[in-house]
Each structure stands twice: as C-alpha cells, then as structure tokens.
Amino acid sequence: MRITLHVWRQKNSTDTGGMKEYTVDGVSEDMSFLEMLDLVNENLINEGKEPIAFDHDCREGICGTCSLMINGIAHGPDAAITTCQLHMRSFKDGDAIHIEPWRSLAFPVVRDLVVDRSSFDRIVQAGGYVSINAGAAQDANCLPIPKPDSDTSMDAAACIGCGACVASCPNGSAMLFVSAKIGHLAHLPQGQPERYKRARDMVAQMDAEGFGACSNHYECEAVCPKEIPVKFIAKMNRDFFKATMCSES
C-alpha cells in the first residue's frame, strides 16, 4: 500500500510547529499503525532527516503510552483499541492520513506527536489512592465485596491513563479519566474512608491543571480504548456534590 501522511511536526515545546506531508510505500496490511510509522522513520533516517517522535512502549494496548489523533479520532478509526493495536488493514491503498498530537493545555507538546501527560499523575497524587502503608493490611478475605461492586470497580480501574478522553473531548475535559479513578476506589469498601475527600481533591487538581468542563458530548466514551462508560462521570459528580455540600473536612 501507498499512504500519504500529514503529520504534526514541532521541534520542542516552544516551537510553533506545523503539518508536514510524507509519502510511504510498501505498507503491508499486517503492519500495525506504529510499525508503519517505524517504516516512515527508517526512511527519514536513511534520507538524513529527523524521524517523527511519537510515544509508544508496550505496543499491546495496556501501558497507555501511545496516543495520536488519527484522521481526527483519538486512537484512530477502530473502536476499543489503542493506536498500537490499530493495524493498517483498517486503511486502504492511496489513503491520506492526518496525524496530530493530543491537544490540551494540560498536555503540552514535548516534540512532534509526544505530549506531557504528567497532569494526570498530579491528579492521582491529589488523592487517587487508599492511604495504607505496606504491612498494615488485614487478611484479604476479611472483607467480602459483592461481586457486582468489585466488577464495577474493575470496569473503572481498567483505565490506562492514555488521555484519549481529553484529546477527543470538544471541551478538553478530563472527567472520564478522573471519574474512572474515583469510581474504581468508590466502589470498594477500602475506598470509603477517603471517598469524598478524594473526589473533592482530585476534581480541584483537575481544574487547577487547566482541563475543560464536561458538557456531556460523550466523545470520551466513544474513543476510550478500554470502553469506560460515562456513568462514572455521573457517579463522580454525585460524590463531588456530597463532598462539597455535606462533608465537613
């Protein structure tokens, strides 16, 4: 296959950047999307040019490192996968593909398609944990947890922190990510003691990072590679109201 790429190139965080066009031949449909980019980079290196920087690591859809807006859709056209799981058989010979980095004030571009998502880490640091030291735990089966609760918690905990929710949101909101973290712990008895404080503090940090507000477009749910539902946003909102209206701390 022959593919034309329009790729965002930006030397560093202060550079203004712009789109560049590349053509790549010899793309096979068994290649993953990132392997296609590897091929483009191999060609660029051979031509003495600088390769396209993009984030990737595990290449099996779990580490959450890879990103990319592909033809205007976070993680590309196929549902419920990350960019590294996207294969070139989803495209056809002669296609033109636009590739841009995640766009958000809270995800500044590091280079080309690489962005800095440390804002997500700071949101978790604001309260996305259970305060327990190693060694302080009781026996694991002392606290039965209804299977539906545990399953719901796992639905939320499946979040890989890739940031596609932010990237796809017309408002640049991080609510799906934050609500997944809050929902994961809110459905477990272990998460109860700090439940409302956690919701309040994590939302405050989310706002401080400069993410947008949610207006329920549900684009985040549509692109989420782990199919995390927006019901967690509704649940987070409830916890946030309780935290701000009813809790004393």
Partner: protein, 226 residues
C-alpha cells in the same frame, strides 16, 4: 469548600447550570401550557392573564427569581465555556465527532439566540415596546384587565414577527434537546439502567415544547384562531 468555590469548579458550574436549567425548563413548560389557552378562546386566556396580573408582589418575586435563575444559568455557561476554550489553546486541524450531535455542539450559539429572543419577547409582549403600538395596553370593556387575546392575535399578524418566533422556538428546542438529557447526567441521575431513557427524554420533551410553542403563532398567522 465554600459554595462560591464549588460553583466556580468545573463540576459545580455545571451543577448550577443544570439546576437553573431545570427551573427554566419548568418555566418554559408552564409558560407554554398557560399560553396554549389561546385555543380555548379569548375568555380563557384573558382570565388566565388577569389571574397572573393580580398576583401583585408575588408576580414580581417570581419575575425576580426567574431573572436571577437566568443570570445564573448564563454565568455558569460563561464559566464552563471559558474553561473549555482555555483548555485547548491550539486546536486540531482535523477533528471528527463520533457520538455528539449538532444540538450539543451548538449549545453556546443556541443559548445566545434564546437569550436574545427572551429580551425581544419581553419587549414585545410584556412591555410592548416593540411592534405593539396599537394593541398593547387595550383594556377589556368589562374591567377584566388587558385584552391579551387580542394582543396575541394581532401580534402575530406580521409574518416577520411570526418567523422570528418560530425560528427562536426551533433554536430553543435544539437547546433543550441536549440540555434536558445532559442536566440529568450532570446531576448524577444517569446510570446503566436509565441511560437510554434519559437520552431520549430530552429530545422528546423538546419536540413537545416545539410543537406547543409553534402552534400559537402559526395558528394566529394563518387565521386558525381569530
């Protein structure tokens, strides 16, 4: 967390928007149901209008509450929009929507249009400042207050006025079709079991309101009611 801080937070602002939204939706429905009495003839409508007019200070309290609600709704919208615009300083060259609709993407525009229309509507029917030189202020002969019925019929005799009303009603419908479902999610009512119903209730209610509100100016213009 103080109430002020809460309201300025992303979720707090949305909650304020949702709660004021509920009040405004209820008003829109009440306003429509009241006005639909135009189809019951002049007596019914004028009687209804007279009852409202006779509320005295309570009417002013209601007006004040509605105005405050509206201002709060607009203020919260401003907070949300400002956050969202700031959140993406560099926009995409290409972006594709997967699930969101026209109504959701145009909430800001439809909101502004509705707000402008409210001003026009008040100047038109409530104060009679615009376009109402003749019929406004005419009293019923039996001392039953203003002849609102006549005012409505005459007010919609100008095709341009009627078109403005119809368009505004359509825009309002658009605004509500996303807004009503959306506020339930924002307030945390939406879950797995009711999501499909909640997503429908907004558009359905909006269309009912659209039909109700369209029926009056069209009926007046076409002479269905005289």
């Amino acid at each position: 967390m103080s109430l002020g801080t809460t309201m300025k937070s992303s979720i707090g602002a949305k909650a304020l928007m949702a709660i004021t939204g509920i009040i405004l939706v209820l008003f829109v429905i009440g306003h429509m149901v009241g006005n639909l009495q135009v189809f019951l003839g002049p007596d019914a409508l004028n009687q209804y209008a007279h009852t409202l007019q006779s509320l005295g200070p309570i009417l002013w309290i209601i007006r004040l509450v509605l105005l405050t609600t509206l201002v709060a709704h607009i203020w919260s919208a401003a907070v949300v929009v400002r956050m969202s615009v700031a959140a993406r300083p560099v926009d995409y060259q290409k972006r594709k929507d997967l699930t969101t609709g026209f109504a959701a993407r145009t909430m800001l525009v439809s909101g502004i249009v509705v707000a402008l229309f409210i001003v026009y509507h008040v100047l038109h029917f409530t104060t009679g400042t615009i376009d109402m030189a003749e019929s406004y202020g005419q009293m019923l002969p039996d001392g039953g207050g203003h002849d609102v019925y006549k005012m409505v019929i005459e007010g919609f005799q100008h095709p341009l006025t009627t078109i403005v009303y119809c368009l505004a009603t359509v825009v309002l419908c658009l605004h509500l079709s996303h807004g009503i479902s959306s506020l339930m999610q924002t307030l945390g009512f939406r879950n797995d079991s009711n999501a499909a119903r909640i997503d429908k209730v907004g558009p359905v209610l909006a269309i009912i309101i659209l039909i109700g509100n369209l029926s009056m100016p069209i009926a007046a213009l076409t002479g269905l009611i005289k």
